[in-house]
Structure formats: structure tokens, C-alpha cells
Amino acid sequence: MAAAGSPFRPRERREQPVPGSRRRAGIWWWLSLPMLLFLTVPLLALLLRSSPATVTHYLRTPAVQQALALSLGTTNVTMVLAVVLGTPAAYLVARRRFPGRRTVEALLDLPVILPPAVAGVALLLAFGRRGLIGGPLGLEITFTPAAVVMAQLFVASPFFVRAAALGFASVEPELLQAAALDGAGAWRRFRHVALPLAWPALLEGAIMAWARALGEFGATIIFAGNLPGRTQTMPLAIYLGFELELDMALTLAVILLGLSFFALVLVRVGLRKW
């Protein structure tokens, strides 16, 4: 399935050597070195500053366990919601032609470039106790784990919708037409043709959305606040721990780094096997 390939090479194919050029990566390795070093050295410094002993020690403290449990719990809910709410939107922009489709696409993508702090303020003004919707409905969402999930969903959903839309778009139109000729309705065409063919892309998108939600900070601290065990996710605990207890912050940072890297490797390597 092409959709589960690398985003760096959307169309994985055997490259024909250009006549007259020896295909050597050597020079490009050297030219890429500054970028690679720039990205690797800080992470290396983080790992070197920490130690397995400190990590195992702090893993047993309630502060780290609470943040870890809350982060894993909320990001899993966020991922499920992103799939449930994002799949119809992805199918819509991938397979339907309607006026304003580009605008809808841009809207679905907007949170990727929007500063998370803007997302947090916007959520507060919409769903806060005296917010646009929160006020009339009498909502009390702010400062609850539900607010954490909403903040994560806002910033992470595009990662799912984007990947899912690419997956749906790569389904051959002939297959859907054939199914339609055989009398399959819109739902059955989606359920039995598009979904089975696009699911690796959906899975990839779900994992990417989960990973982005795991790192969410700016919208969370504004909309959900910061209370250990309730709304203090790992990134928040790292930020505040940096000023109080550096080793605790480092432990959480190492765990976060490991989880994020694992998610990316899963997407890039694991899913390509299918």
C-alpha cells in the first residue's frame, strides 16, 4: 500500500540511474550532516544528562506516574475521537467534488500551522464557562481531563485527516464505479471498498495524531490548566518541573522522546510491511 510508505517518497519505486551519473549518496551525506547533527545533538544531550538510574527512580514517583497515566489516557481518547470524527471529513474532501472544497481542506489543515496558544485561547472563549457556547449551555469543561482531550483533538486531528484523505484519494475510482454498477450503495462502497483499501493510511494517521497529542502543551495549559493527576500531562509537568525539579522533568522528557520516536518508527517501518 503506497499510502503507508514514507512521506518523503510518496511513490516508492525503483529509481532508474540517470545516464552518466554514478548514483552515489556520498556528497549528499556530507551536505545533510549539519541538519542531521543539529537535530541529533540536543536529543543526545538530553539522554546523556539523564541516566537509567534517575529514570527508574523517578518512574516510581507519583508525580511522574500521574502525568504518564494522564497523558496515555487522554491521548488514546483523542486518537479514537480523531478517527471517528475525522474519517467522514477525510472521505468528504478526498472523494467528493463540491464548491469550496479547497477552503474546507484548508480549514481542516489550519491547526497544523496555528500556534497552539491561539487554539487554547479560542477553545476557552468558545467552550469556557462564559464562552460563546459554554455560557448559554452552562458547560463546566475547563480544568477537566475532557478539556485536555479537546485541546489535543484540536491540534492533532489534521494529522489523521490528512493521512486518511490521502488514503481515500488513492483508491482507484474504477473500483468504486464497479461496486456502484453492482448495486452497492454509498455506505457499502465506503465500508467494503474504500475503507479496506485505505486502512493502512488511516492507521498511520491515527498514530501520528496520537503522537502529536502526546506532545501537546500550549492549548492544554491555557484551556485545561495545570493540576497534577487531572490536567497535568507530561509536557506540562516537564515545563513546570524544569523550574522545580530538573531530574523529574528530564525523566519525563526521556519517556516522551522514546514514545514519540517509537510511534514514528512504527509508522515508517512497521506499517510498510503490510
Partner: protein
């Protein structure tokens, strides 16, 4: 054709000389590093000071005292440092950026309980322990957060609000914010029923206020000192202005208290 080149060189040197001369004759800049809570008061003080000292322009660098102290430690150029607590002044002193003993206390700040505009169920300090009341404090990493905890501890033990007062109020806390201004904003937006901030913050926002009795309150002391390698004369005259009756009146109008025993 070497003549035009030489003319060009001479001309550029003259231009350069003129520029540096012009700079000397131009206004001098006084760079003041000031705690974020001083932003309103120091903007007005700077304006008044500039008006009285034509030829000097004041540049304010506002931020958390801790951030500013770190910038000074890293060698950032500055002429004055005004810190929200003596702790961060000591950080700058230990790094050699401020000479020990040169700092002057110039203002104080106290805590106050704030409530959303239009009021909520919180009217007195006792109401903070009522079940379901949403309270926001600054995080422990923030000085205001530490002061708030100290107030709650005193209120329970010495304030006659009950032995469990601190515990019950902390049980109502829905968020520990990363700075004191975030507490103000969220209470002003009505997201919480009460918060604890500085008097000067409360004046800056559209919020209701519940005074904390003096015997339970915590006093934050602000210190100002010239930076060791800065412009000495202007720094001294700026400090004098801050301590003068006019400077003190501006600080008072922004909710700051006077330092007891200070001549004015």
C-alpha cells in the same frame, strides 16, 4: 583611476566619524531590566523620567525576575535591575553583575483574593473552602504561588479560619498556573470563582477583590540596583527618581505599597 577611489574612502571615513559624533551628541539610552509586575508603573516612571531628563531615553526590558536574572548572568547588557524579590537580586549579585550592597528596596506588593466581574459565590475568605468553588493559584515554581501557599497556611493556623483551611482550599484548586498574570486572566474570564494574585495585578484587571488581613498577608519586596558595568550616573538618577515622592506616588497608583522606614 585611483583618484575617485581615494575620494570615496575619505568620504566614507568622514561619514563614519560624523555618525559616531552624532551618536555621542544624541540621546543616551538607559536600559532597565524590570519585573513583569512593574510593567505599568515603570512605563509611567520612565516617561516622567525622560521628560525630566531630556537626552536620556529609557529602554525597558520586562520579564519574570527569574528570567531577567538569568539574562544578566549570561552577560546581557543593562544599566539597572529591578527585581520582584531579593532572591533574584542575589542571583545577579553572585554572578558579579550587581555589586553587593548597592540594592535598594523601593516597593512592596501584597496578595489579594480576586473574583470574576459580576461576582460569584465567593464573597469572603471563608467561602474559598465551600465545596465546588473553583480556585486558581500560581504554580509553586512562581514566587506568587509560593506566597499564596504561605498565606493559606497562616490563615488556617493563625487566622482562625479552621485547621483544615489550607487543605480544603487546596482541594478546591482546579489549576496551578505558570505565571500570576494567567491567574488574573482566567479569573477575569470567569473560568474560576477565585484566585490569589498581587494587589498590583488585581488593579490591572476587571475583577472583584477580597482583601487579605495584614497579619495573614505576605509582603513581596521589590529591589532595584545599578548593574556593575552600566551607565552609573544615569542609573543613580533613575533610582533617585523611583524613590522620590513622585516615583512613589506612581507606584502607589499601580497598587504597590511603600517600604516601611523608607524616607521619602
Amino acid at each position: 583611476m585611483h583618484f575617485p577611489l581615494r575620494h570615496l574612502l575619505v568620504a566614507s571615513f568622514m561619514l563614519l566619524a560624523a555618525c559616531s559624533l552624532g551618536e555621542g551628541a544624541q540621546r543616551q539610552t538607559l536600559t532597565v531590566y524590570a519585573a513583569a509586575s512593574l510593567s505599568g508603573a515603570f512605563a509611567e516612571i520612565a516617561e516622567q523620567y525622560e521628560w525630566e531628563h531630556p537626552g536620556v531615553s529609557v529602554r525597558l526590558n520586562l520579564g519574570g525576575s527569574q528570567q531577567l536574572a538569568q539574562q544578566l548572568v549570561q552577560g546581557a547588557p543593562a544599566d539597572l535591575f529591578a527585581s520582584a524579590n531579593t532572591e533574584q537580586m542575589r542571583v545577579a549579585q553572585e554572578a558579579g553583575r550587581v555589586a553587593p550592597g548597592t540594592e535598594v528596596l523601593f516597593a512592596t506588593n501584597r496578595l489579594v483574593v480576586i473574583t470574576p466581574p459580576g461576582g460569584t459565590e465567593v464573597d469572603t475568605l471563608v467561602d474559598l473552602v465551600r465545596p465546588g468553588v473553583r480556585v486558581i493559584l500560581a504554580d509553586e515554581a512562581v514566587p506568587a504561588g509560593r506566597y499564596a501557599r504561605a498565606f493559606l497556611m497562616r490563615a488556617g493556623v493563625a487566622g482562625g479560619l479552621g485547621d483544615d483551611y489550607e487543605k480544603n482550599v487546596l482541594g478546591n484548586v482546579v489549576s496551578y498556573e505558570q505565571n500570576v498574570r494567567a491567574v488574573l486572566t482566567k479569573v477575569a474570564l470567569g473560568e474560576a470563582d477565585a484566585g490569589v494574585v498581587y494587589e498590583s495585578d488585581a488593579l490591572a484587571g476587571d475583577v472583584g477583590r477580597i482583601a487579605i488581613p495584614a497579619e495573614l498577608n505576605v509582603v513581596a519586596s521589590y529591589a532595584i540596583a545599578p548593574v556593575a558595568d552600566g551607565a552609573e550616573a544615569n542609573a543613580a538618577s533613575f533610582i533617585a527618581f523611583v524613590l522620590s515622592p513622585r516615583g512613589q506616588a506612581i507606584l502607589a497608583s499601580y497598587g504597590f505599597g511603600a517600604v516601611t522606614g523608607m524616607e521619602s
